[in-house]
C-alpha cells in the first residue's frame, strides 16, 4: 500500500509534462497555473486566487540536454539549462505565468530569458527582501506579492478576499505540519522509510493541488507508523547545500546505501521554509504571510543572516536531529551554497562535528566516487569505536 503511494508520488514528482496540473486547470473555470522556481514562494496566494502554484525544480536526470547548453556556459550550474530545455520543448505550455524568487544571479537572469522567450503570460522576478524590518522589508515584500496577485487578477479576475486567503493558509499549514511529522518519524525510525521515498512524497506536493497532497501525506503518516523495518548499523547524517538544484535520486540512494541514514536535509526546502503555522485568523492575511516570511523563515544560502548566524542554526539542527555527521552536498558551480560551506564547516570543525563535502549536478549518473567517500565517512565513524563527540555540542 505504502509502496503504491510512493510509486505514484515518484511518477508525479518527475512528471515533466506536469499533467496533473494541466488536468486540474481544465477541470474548472478561471483556473490558472503558475510555475515557481526555487526556493520559497508563498503558494497560498496563488491558491487563494483560484490557481495552482507548481514548483519547477529542473529536469533532473530525466531530461536530455540538447539545446539548453546554448544558453549556459559550462561553469554555470545545471538546473537553468534543464529548465530552458523544458521550456523549448514546450513542457510549460499552458502555464499562465512564472515566478522567480530571488535566490541567485543565475535564477535572476533566467527570469530575463523567460521574458525574452515570451514564456507564459507573465514572468515575475520576485525580489525577496533582505531587510527584515516589517515597515521596510515587510512593506516591500507585500508590494511584491501584490504585484503577483495583480498579474493573476488580470488573467482570471478573481478577487482574493481575506476569507479565501485564510482558507488557503490553513491548507498549507496542514501540509507543512504533515511534512514535519514525516521528518520527525524518520528522525526516530529512519529505517521505516527510505530518504528517497520521503523525497518523492514531498516532491509530489510541488506539482499537485495541496488538498490532494494533504490526503497523500495523511495516509503516508498513518502507514509509515505501521511499518516495521529493521534498523541497520548506519550513521545518521544531515545533508546540506541542495536547496535549489536537486540531487539526482540516485545520489540520495547512494548515500543511504553507503551506510548512512539521512535524517535531515534541505532538498525541498521551499516546502518547509516557514517554520510553524501562519496565522489564519487575521483580517489582513497578506500581512500574516509577510510576517511569517520575516519571522519564521528557515535559514538558507539565499538570505543574508544578519543577527541570526546560520552556523548557530545549523548546530541547533544537528543537536535536534541527533546526527553523527554532516554531508555538504552542493550543486557544482552553485555560488550561494558553496560560499556558505566554509562558514558552516568551520563551525562543525570547532564543535567537533564530523563532515564531508562533495559536489553533484542534477544529472550526475556516476556515483562511484561519491559512494566511496560516503562509505569511508560512515566507516570512519563506525569502525573506530570512539563515541561521537556529541558532548561537545
Amino acid at each position: 500500500m505504502l509502496k503504491e503511494i510512493v510509486a505514484r508520488c515518484e511518477e508525479l514528482a518527475f512528471d515533466l509534462s506536469f499533467s496533473r496540473a494541466r488536468e486540474w486547470k481544465s477541470q474548472g473555470k478561471n483556473r490558472v497555473v503558475v510555475g515557481h522556481l526555487p526556493v520559497y514562494f508563498p503558494r497560498e496566494i496563488i491558491h487563494a486566487a483560484n490557481g495552482l502554484a507548481v514548483g519547477i525544480l529542473g529536469g533532473g536526470d530525466r531530461k536530455l540536454i540538447i539545446r539548453g547548453d546554448a544558453y549556459y556556459q559550462s561553469y554555470i550550474c545545471h538546473i537553468p539549462r534543464s529548465i530552458i530545455e523544458l521550456a523549448i520543448d514546450k513542457h510549460f505550455a499552458g502555464f499562465d505565468g512564472f515566478i522567480f524568487p530571488s535566490i541567485c544571479d543565475v535564477m535572476r537572469n533566467l527570469s530575463g530569458m523567460f521574458q525574452m522567450m515570451g514564456e507564459g503570460k507573465f514572468v515575475k522576478y520576485l525580489d525577496l527582501p533582505q531587510n527584515f524590518q516589517s515597515h521596510i522589508g515587510g512593506t516591500f515584500y507585500r508590494y511584491e506579492l501584490q504585484t503577483v496577485l495583480n498579474e493573476v487578477y488580470k488573467l482570471n479576475g478573481i478577487e482574493v478576499t481575506p476569507e479565501r486567503l485564510n482558507h488557503s493558509i490553513k491548507l498549507f499549514n496542514i501540509n507543512r505540519t504533515l511534512i514535519r511529522q514525516l521528518y520527525d518519524i524518520r528522525q526516530e525510525f529512519p529505517w521505516k522509510m527510505t530518504a528517497a521515498d520521503l523525497y518523492h512524497i514531498v516532491r509530489a506536493g510541488y506539482v499537485i493541488p495541496v488538498e490532494e497532497h494533504n490526503e497523500i501525506l495523511e495516509s503516508v503518516v498513518r502507514l509509515v507508523m505501521e511499518e516495521r523495518g529493521d534498523p541497520m548499523d548506519k550513521i545518521r547524517v544531515l545533508v546540506m547545500g541542495a536547496f535549489c538544484e536537486q540531487p539526482p535520486v540516485g545520489l540520495i540512494r547512494t548515500i543511504e546505501l553507503a551506510g548512512c541514514y539521512i535524517v535531515e536535509d534541505d532538498f525541498l526546502l521551499g516546502a518547509r521554509w516557514i517554520q510553524g503555522d501562519i496565522d489564519t485568523g487575521s483580517t489582513d492575511p497578506l500581512e500574516s504571510i509577510t510576517s511569517a516570511y520575516l519571522e519564521k523563515s528557515t535559514f538558507s544560502s539565499s538570505v543574508y543572516d544578519i543577527g541570526n548566524p546560520k552556523e548557530v542554526r545549523l548546530l541547533n539542527l544537528i543537536r535536534q536531529r541527533k546526527v553523527d555527521g554532516v554531508i555538504f552536498a552542493a550543486p557544482s558551480f552553485c555560488d550561494p551554497a558553496l560560499l556558505d560551506h566554509p562558514i558552516l564547516q568551520k563551525e562543525c570543525n570547532d564543535k567537533n562535528v564530523r563532515f564531508i563535502s562533495f559536489l553533484y549536478s542534477e544529472n550526475t549518473g556516476q556515483f562511484k566516487v561519491i559512494k566511496e567517500q560516503v562509505g569511508t565517512f560512515s566507516d570512519s565513524i563506525k569502525l573506530w569505536d570512539e563515541p561521537v563527540l556529541k558532548a561537545n555540542l
Partner: protein, 427 residues
C-alpha cells in the same frame, strides 16, 4: 619589451589620486578616520564621503592583486581554507589577501573595516562575500542596502521608497554611529553636484569612440578611465579635474586623428571596431590587450565600464534629491538591468559606434555577468546580423586564462571579420 610610452597628464593625476587614497588608508589608524568596506556596483561613495569616512573596495583589491600576479596564491590560500574551486574568485582572492596580511597595491596595509556597507547591486555573491567578511572581522557592524532588481524594465516608486527607507533607517544611522558624525544633507548635496559633473564627462569621453579612428579604447583603457568614479572619487573636485583633463587630451587626439594609446604606443591602423561584453581578465591584462591591438582591433564600447553606473541612457544624480538619487544610481548599474535592457544597451552601442563585431569575454567567476550572456549574444546576432565572438577567461584566477585558447579563438574571430570585409566589399 614594450617601449616606454610618454605618460599623459591625466594618467599622472590618476596615479596621484590613487596613491593618496592608499596613503590616507594606511594612516587611518593614526588619523582616526573610519574605514568602510563596500562594493563598486552601487557604491554610495558620496554618502561615505559626506561622513568623512574612507571607502575600501574589496573587489578593487582583488583586481589589483590580479594585476600584480598575486591572486593565484591568494586564491589557493582561500581554497585551502575551505572555499570551493567553483565560486567567484574575487571573493577568494580577497579572502586570501586578508589571510596574507591585507597588504594593498601600494604595499601599505589596508586597515580593518569599521563598517561593512553591503550595498549589493546586481550580484548575490556580494551577500555571501560580506557574510564571509563579517566572520573574518567579528563585531564590525554591517549595514545592508538591498537594491531591487529592474525586473519589470523600470524603477517603480515602491522600489525607490524601499531603498530610501533602508538608507534612512539602516545605513545612515549605522554611519552616524560609526563615524560619530551626524548626517549632513547639505554636504552630501554639494558632493553630488560634483558627481553630476563627472557623470557628464564620462558620457562625453566614452562617446568619442564615434570618431574614426577611435581616439580611445573603451575597454582596455576604459577600465582606467572609470578608475576614479569607481574607487570613491566620484563626488570629489579631484575627479572633476581629472575628467576635464582627460577629456581635453582625448579631444586633442581627435584633432590629430590619432588612434588609441596602447602600452606599446599609438595604435597604427584601426582595422576592427568591437563592442565587448563582460569584464576583462586582470592576471594577464597586458597580454590580453596585446592580442587586440596587435590585430588593429579597438574596442569602441564595453559593458564592463558601466558596472559602476550607467549614464549614457540619461540618468544623472539630482543633488536636490540626494537619497533618491543614490537609490536610483544603485538600481541603474549595468548588472542590475535585466537581460532585455542589457541587449538594448549593447545594441545601441553597436549601432552608435558602428562596430564590426561583438565579442563576449565570459568570466567564469561572475554569474551576474555570465548567466545569460549567450542569449544576449544570440539576440544581437539575430537582431543586428553582427558577427559575434566568444572567449572565456577569469577575472583573477590565472588558472583560467589559457593564452593559447584565447589566441586561437581571437585569431579565428579576427580572420573571420577580415574575410567578411574582403568578401562583402568585393560584392
Amino acid at each position: 619589451m614594450a617601449k616606454e610610452v610618454a605618460k599623459e597628464r591625466s594618467m599622472i593625476i590618476q596615479k596621484e589620486m590613487i596613491t593618496g587614497h592608499f596613503k590616507e588608508l594606511g594612516a587611518a589608524k593614526e588619523t582616526g578616520k573610519k574605514v568602510v568596506y563596500t562594493f563598486v556596483p552601487g557604491n554610495i561613495s558620496e554618502l561615505i564621503l559626506s561622513f568623512g569616512m574612507l571607502p575600501v573596495y574589496p573587489e578593487l583589491n582583488a583586481l589589483q592583486s590580479g594585476m600584480r600576479k598575486k591572486s593565484g596564491d591568494y586564491i589557493r590560500d582561500a581554497e585551502q581554507h575551505g572555499h570551493s574551486e567553483d565560486v567567484c574568485t574575487y571573493v577568494k582572492c580577497d579572502v586570501g589577501m586578508m589571510l596574507n596580511g591585507n597588504i594593498g597595491p601600494t604595499g601599505e596595509k589596508i586597515p580593518k573595516p569599521d563598517l561593512l556597507l553591503l550595498s549589493y547591486t546586481g550580484c548575490f555573491t556580494f551577500l555571501k562575500w560580506f557574510e564571509t567578511l563579517e566572520r573574518l572581522y567579528p563585531g564590525v557592524p554591517v549595514a545592508l542596502l538591498h537594491t531591487p532588481y529592474q525586473e519589470a524594465h523600470k524603477i517603480t516608486p515602491e522600489m525607490t521608497a524601499y531603498m530610501v527607507k533602508q538608507l534612512k533607517e539602516e545605513v545612515i544611522p549605522k554611519m552616524e554611529q560609526v563615524s560619530g558624525n551626524k548626517y549632513d544633507e547639505e554636504k552630501l548635496k554639494s558632493i553630488l553636484r560634483n558627481s553630476s559633473k563627472v557623470e557628464d564627462f564620462i558620457v562625453k569621453i566614452f562617446d568619442t569612440t564615434k570618431h574614426r579612428p577611435s581616439p580611445i579604447d573603451a575597454y582596455f583603457a576604459g577600465v582606467y578611465y572609470i578608475g576614479p568614479i569607481n574607487s570613491g572619487f566620484r563626488g570629489t573636485p579631484e575627479a572633476v579635474d581629472y575628467y576635464a583633463e582627460l577629456y581635453k587630451e582625448i579631444l586633442t587626439r581627435i584633432d590629430k586623428k590619432l588612434g588609441p594609446i596602447t602600452p606599446e604606443g599609438e595604435m597604427e591602423e584601426e582595422r576592427f571596431r568591437l563592442v565587448v561584453e563582460g569584464p576583462p581578465n586582470w592576471t594577464h591584462f597586458r597580454e590580453f590587450w596585446k592580442l587586440f591591438y596587435d590585430m588593429g582591433a579597438v574596442i569602441v564600447a564595453s559593458s564592463y565600464t558601466k558596472v559602476g553606473g550607467v549614464y549614457d541612457m540619461g540618468f544623472r544624480v539630482n543633488p536636490d534629491k540626494p537619497l533618491e538619487s543614490l537609490a536610483e544610481y544603485c538600481m541603474n548599474c549595468y548588472t542590475n538591468l535585466n537581460l532585455q535592457q542589457r541587449v538594448e544597451l549593447l545594441s545601441k552601442c553597436i549601432t552608435d559606434y558602428q562596430a564590426d563585431g561583438f565579442l563576449v569575454n565570459s568570466i567564469k567567476s561572475c554569474n551576474s555577468f555570465s548567466a545569460g550572456q549567450l542569449m544576449i549574444m544570440q539576440q544581437l546576432e539575430r537582431k543586428l546580423e553582427i558577427p559575434t565572438g566568444f572567449i572565456e577567461s577569469d577575472l583573477v584566477d590565472p588558472r583560467y586564462f589559457s593564452y593559447s585558447n584565447i589566441k586561437n579563438r581571437l585569431e579565428s574571430f579576427f580572420q573571420m571579420l577580415e574575410q567578411r570585409k574582403m568578401i562583402l566589399t568585393r560584392q
